[in-house]
């Protein structure tokens, strides 16, 4: 039983737990990567088979969104540095900034959808638009998961000003590390999707 352990055992466990969460996130990303790999192969095959394939013109706002998402990765790194010193106290502004940028990105993606639909391009208009809505939608959904994680961290950090005490079981550095892994992957995935959809055509 937990109480039977010595303090050293406890300390060892805590690190192990956080380490484990990073591995878990890594594996989750592997399977998310497989999901998008499957969709990519569908995209490539579908495009190769269709003589009438035509790419939808890119909504310009996507470039701004991309910049926003990439910026959020930078702010998240800042947050990680800020919380690197455990005594960092109330330094959670960077976390909040990351979250705000993430929300802005999702909002921006939604605007891009609105732009397309007002131009008469819907999910079923042509295969390219089908893939556009599907891929951006799935990516956005996964990003929302990241935003939730950031929100949780923000809440914990802001409530007690002392991250460590608030969540005794979650090492803040490792927790942000795992979240950052996920977040950066989503950033990279977005750039990949942008290239797939609009550079490749």
């Amino acid at each position: 039983m937990a109480t039977a352990f010595t303090t050293t055992a406890r300390a060892a466990e805590r690190i192990a737990h956080a380490e484990t969460s990073r591995l878990g996130v890594g594996l989750a990303l592997t399977s998310i990567g497989m999901l998008f790999t499957g969709l990519t192969s569908a995209y490539v095959v579908r495009q190769a088979l269709d003589p009438a394939w035509r790419a939808t013109p890119m909504p310009k706002i996507l470039l701004i969104n991309t910049a926003v998402l990439l910026a959020s990765s930078v702010t998240l790194e800042k947050a990680r540095r800020a919380l690197g010193g455990i005594a960092a106290g109330s330094r959670f502004e960077w976390l909040a900034a990351t979250m705000a940028l993430g929300i802005a990105f999702v909002g921006g993606q939604f605007m891009a959808w609105r732009q397309l639909t007002s131009g008469g391009i819907y999910l079923s208009t042509n295969p390219h638009s089908s893939f556009f809505y599907l891929l951006t939608g799935l990516h956005g959904l996964h990003l929302l998961g990241g935003i939730l994680a950031l929100g949780y961290l923000c809440l914990r950090a802001s409530r007690d000003y002392s991250f460590v005490a608030a969540v005794p079981r979650v090492d803040p550095v490792r927790a942000i590390g795992a979240t950052a892994l996920y977040w950066h992957f989503m950033g990279g995935l977005w750039v990949y999707l942008l290239v797939l959809l609009f550079v490749r055509g």
Binding site: M1, A2, A4, F5, A9, A12, E13, R14, A16, H17, E19, T20, S21, L23, G24, L27, A28, T30, S31, I32, M34, L35, F36, T37, G38, L39, S41, A42, V45, R46, L49, D50, A52, L123, S124, P127, S130, L134, L138, R169
Partner: protein
């Protein structure tokens, strides 16, 4: 080396302890019970199939009262048959063969066998069980909706599955629920897989190096890797299929279709083969997801009851890995007749035959394990030996089906039905039974009745051979699968006697499973009390009481000194040396 999960306090209260439990042992049992329910349901569905196949025009007044739409005018309707067939396949593959050996036994025994106190993510673990249950409920709901369950088979080939009600009964709401259920199942399996992988990598006890893990753990670990990479692709396919059905997209639906005299004008340019590629990219690894844990259990049990080290442990590990890896390169062998490029067929043919090599190695090693042993024929051992026999019987026919040129006459005939039922269905079930007779004492603290177990074995082994061997003959003679009856063609009518024989054999075999069910329930209460190690086994789960305490090992941290199959070590005091026993040089 040893990294332990944060130990949670034992849960208090019935709900937290047995319903929303985060204890891997409770979750393992929950999965097992879910699979038990599913297998019973799946067998009932197969009874309906066998009724129709053996006596297609027979009237069943009693059944007609229960299912008025399924037995219009007395005989079973063909669409009812097809929906039974679809649901039988789906439920057996997903909710039995994926759930029992991996999520059931794996959840219960993977942590204990590596000396961990729980899974790496206990809450996630609980979540994956409940998500699986939701998936099962959605699937079962498809049986009760208007229009009935889907009729497109467990492979749900597009565009049949994509067009909706216009293509046939059950393809409306029933098919939609099928896709939703499968998508939910994918998510649950991913959660399970990443939990298994993290646990195996991070939570092994001190001394439990990778090459000291029991072969069961290696099998679960590899299976989890397969699941992690295969289920996302099925999910991708499912999403695309759903969008084709409800979103008006054309991923799988080509243009210019005329279905039931109606022009389908909303779609254009989709590719039916794309669905097949996505499905089988998942589908073939799925076959190994079903069978690999059975291989692990069989290795474990054979070694235990031969009282011999497993022969060529490292080769066994390598073979599991090789099978897992190659299983990603063979999916095209399901598509030799699909219109895929004949060049691809040639490549897939070679990779498929290559997967036979590690499979054969495993068989040889099992036989070599028996050689020179002191074989004790417990019920568990009987089923493990049955597994080996079935694995051979189902495996050798793979040599035929792997060749596209032989696949021309045999593709989609009963020969294929015989092949995959023996190797993926029945062999895997034998693995589950071997595991059940072996681990029941550990899980519930009481022994299963051995005599009933042996009777159960004899009925089952004789039964499955009587059911599935004749299907090879049907297939050779050209009988196509998925026919609601085989009497509409002249060349098939001489085969009807075989169908009747198979049905009778199936009914007896299914009835014999009640012996197991009775034994299971009776032994829960009345079975002989089991000690910590009733089989004189060596792996870590046998070092703790039966059933194990909440955190498995109490306050003691288990330490492992050597590999898992040290039986009949010369000069050792007993004929087995447990993994946790610090002894002098053994391997030296």
């Amino acid at each position: 080396m040893a990294e332990q999960a944060l130990v949670h306090e034992p849960a208090k209260g019935f709900i937290r302890k047995y319903v929303f439990s985060t204890d891997h042992k409770v979750i393992g049992i929950q999965y097992y019970v879910l699979a038990l329910f599913s297998v019973l349901l799946g067998m009932v569905l197969s009874i309906f199939m066998r009724l129709r196949l053996a006596w297609p025009m027979e009237k069943w007044p009693l059944l007609q009262q229960v299912f008025p739409t399924g037995f219009v005018g007395g005989p079973m309707t063909p669409e009812f048959y097809l929906s039974m067939m679809t649901m039988h396949g789906t439920i057996m593959v997903f909710f039995v063969l994926t759930t029992a050996p991996l999520s059931g036994f794996g959840n219960y025994f993977l942590p204990i066998q590596i000396g961990a106190r729980d899974m790496a993510f206990p809450v996630l673990n609980m979540l994956s069980f409940w998500v699986t249950l939701v998936s099962l409920l959605v699937m079962v709901a498809a049986l009760f909706v208007t229009g009935g369950a889907p009729i497109a088979g467990w492979t749900s080939y597009a565009p049949l599955s994509a067009l909706g009600e216009v293509a046939g009964p059950g393809l409306g709401l029933g098919q939609t629920l099928w896709i939703i259920s499968i998508a939910i199942f994918c998510v649950a399996s991913l959660l399970t897989a990443l939990n298994f992988l993290t646990t195996t990598l991070n939570l092994r006890a001190r001394g439990m190096s990778l090459l000291r893990m029991p072969l069961t753990v290696w099998a679960w670990f590899t299976t989890a890797m397969l699941a992690l990479l295969a289920f996302p692709v099925l999910l991708a396919g499912g999403i695309l299929l759903m969008l084709d059905r409800v979103g008006g997209t054309s991923f799988f639906i080509p243009g210019g279709l005329v279905v039931s005299d109606r022009l389908i004008s909303a779609h254009t340019g989709g590719s039916p083969l794309l669905w097949q590629h996505l499905f089988w990219f998942f589908g073939h690894p799925e076959v190994y997801i079903a069978i690999l844990p059975g291989m692990g259990i069989t290795s474990h049990v054979l070694s235990t009851f031969s009282r011999k080290p497993i022969f060529a442990y490292k080769a066994m590990v390598l073979a599991i890995f090789a099978i897992g890896f190659i299983s990603y390169l063979v999916w095209g062998h399901h598509m030799f007749m699909s219109g895929m490029s004949p060049y691809s067929s040639m490549a897939f043919s070679i990779t498929t035959l290559a997967v036979g090599v590690p499979s054969a190695i495993k068989t040889f090693n099992w036989l070599a394990t028996l050689r020179g042993g002191r074989i004790r024929l417990t019920a568990s051992m009987l089923f493990a030996l049955g597994f080996v026999s079935l694995f051979v019987s189902g495996g050798v026919t793979g040599m035929l089906l792997a060749q596209p040129v032989i696949d021309i006459p045999l593709h989609d005939t009963y020969f294929v039905v015989a092949h995959f039922h023996i190797i993926m269905g029945v062999a895997a079930v034998f693995g589950i039974f071997a595991g059940t007779y072996y681990w029941f004492p550990k899980m519930f603290g009481r022994m299963l009745n051995e005599r009933l177990g042996k009777i159960h074995f004899w009925f089952t082994i004789a039964g499955v051979y009587a059911i599935f061997m004749p299907m090879h003959f049907l297939g050779i003679a050209g009988a196509p699968r998925r026919y609601a009856q085989l009497t509409e063609f002249e060349f098939l009518t001489p085969l009807q006697a075989l169908q009747v024989f198979i049905s009778v054999a199936a009914f007896i075999t299914i009835a014999a499973q009640l012996i197991f069910l009775f034994n299971f329930i009776w032994s829960l209460r009345r079975g002989k009390r089991a000690g910590a190690n009733p089989w004189a086994s060596t792996s870590l789960e046998w070092t703790v009481p039966s059933p194990p305490p909440h955190d498995n090992f109490g306050a003691v941290e288990p330490v492992v000194f050597h590999g898992p199959y040290e039986y009949s070590v010369p000069n050792a005091p007993e004929d087995y040396v447990m993994q946790s026993e610090p002894v002098r040089e053994i391997n030296g």
